[in-house]
Symmetry: C2
């Protein structure tokens, strides 16, 4: 990969290397609203953007992290104590000015998880970690670095992909009803879906299996389902129609 005029060994040894970080956008649903996780940066006077809210993340540690994805999983474990059921790379942002410490590239992953699994773990330095509603962007705090732009892209990608994939299943506990699942979709998309078409779509692809338990308590019991192959993503042949 070095240009032919460079000696590779020299280039690898001497070329100035950008900073290399990983950030994670964590989505969940609480109280029928899509939320994402932000953490407060420490206040130390050597810190850039002290006290600002930011995506959970940090430097790749070449000694501990086998790969970018492993690094994302570590950051996530440190903040939420959870091994993500689904982790997708959103993209990379790298340029000379996004971080005052120098040319830096961040590698962003996103994940979805049921909120009741999560116990937020404040970092050793009394960092806060908090859920913020995705809508109500006006009321977000100012974000560190270019994280606002990154979050916007993540939300865009999530919404686009929910139109034709099984992504919202990862917002739910292992067993759920079709109504739960539909509410998951509707919460992410921010619009109602038609019940009959929704159920036909979900059951026409063989990715759910009924568990032999029903959800009871509220009037007529409902069939509980679970995902056949957790970790995989299912693609539907069309997007939901946009409403008129």
């Amino acid at each position: 990969m070095p240009r032919s005029s460079e000696s590779a060994a020299r280039a690898a040894a001497t070329i100035q290397r950008p900073l290399c970080t990983v950030d994670v956008v964590v989505f969940t649903v609480r109280e029928d609203q899509l939320h994402l996780l932000l953490v407060r940066r420490p206040e130390g006077r050597d810190e850039p953007q002290p006290g600002r809210w930011a995506l959970p993340g940090g430097f790749v540690d070449v000694a501990r992290d086998a790969s970018l994805e492993a690094c994302a999983e570590r950051k996530l474990r440190e903040k939420t104590g959870v091994v993500p059921p689904y982790l997708e790379q959103l993209g990379s942002w790298g340029d000379a000015t996004r971080d005052p410490r120098g040319w830096s590239a961040t590698h962003v992953y996103f994940t979805l998880m049921p909120s009741d699994e999560i116990e937020l773990q404040p970092g050793g330095n009394a960092e806060e970690a908090r859920w913020w509603p995705v809508d109500a962007e006006k009321r977000w705090p100012p974000l560190a670095f270019d994280h606002r732009r990154i979050v916007q892209q993540a939300v865009e990608r999530l919404r686009a992909k929910v139109e034709y994939t099984s992504l919202p299943a990862y917002l739910l506990p292992p067993a759920f009803t079709l109504t739960d699942l539909q509410r998951g979709y509707e919460t992410v998309l921010g619009r109602p879906l038609e019940k009959s078409a929704f159920r036909t779509r979900m059951l026409s692809v063989d990715w759910l299996e009924p568990v032999d338990r029903m959800r009871t308590g509220n009037f007529r019991p409902a069939q509980l389902y679970r995902v056949r192959r957790p970790g995989e993503l299912v693609f539907f042949p069309r997007t939901f129609y946009a409403p008129k």
Copy 2:
């Protein structure tokens, strides 16, 4: 982004940084076949993978490259002399073992271009640059690093996206007929599409405009079209149906 126990300044200064590279997957169509561009790595004895075929790319140069994307554009200019009409980030691959020189992260972009615009520019060191047909994977040379895997992902992404976007327009010269465009789609997808449905789809979204010229020469003249907003990508509401 550093862990709270670390001083940011110290971390930025002392943490060992991964190598940071950019690679580009360049697609084109020649003789009704999808091709991609590979370059031969130099033979110098300090070079890893000497003489192997690889994606065009190389180290990010923090002094010259304003961003990852700018770096991709530079690599491309050096190899093909072309400013890409479309450039999309495919993803990043970073781990401890993919490059013998150390922990490295590569940032991969892909692009499509009409092949007649391109004059391959061998590097100063008599590197070769060559087009390879995407099918006939068996007859590819062994690729350097993890580039085979990356190429496979790029092809997958391209084919998936062609099902519901206007991507193949970037394989064509600025003015083209609907038949040309259909052939572009068919070449990428490797299967025939139905003419009537294809034309209806293309014209139902307002992204093409007729130029007041016809393609003549071969029997009945055909209307030439151009893309209304070059650089943009159009999304169609459905994928083409998979054939039975």
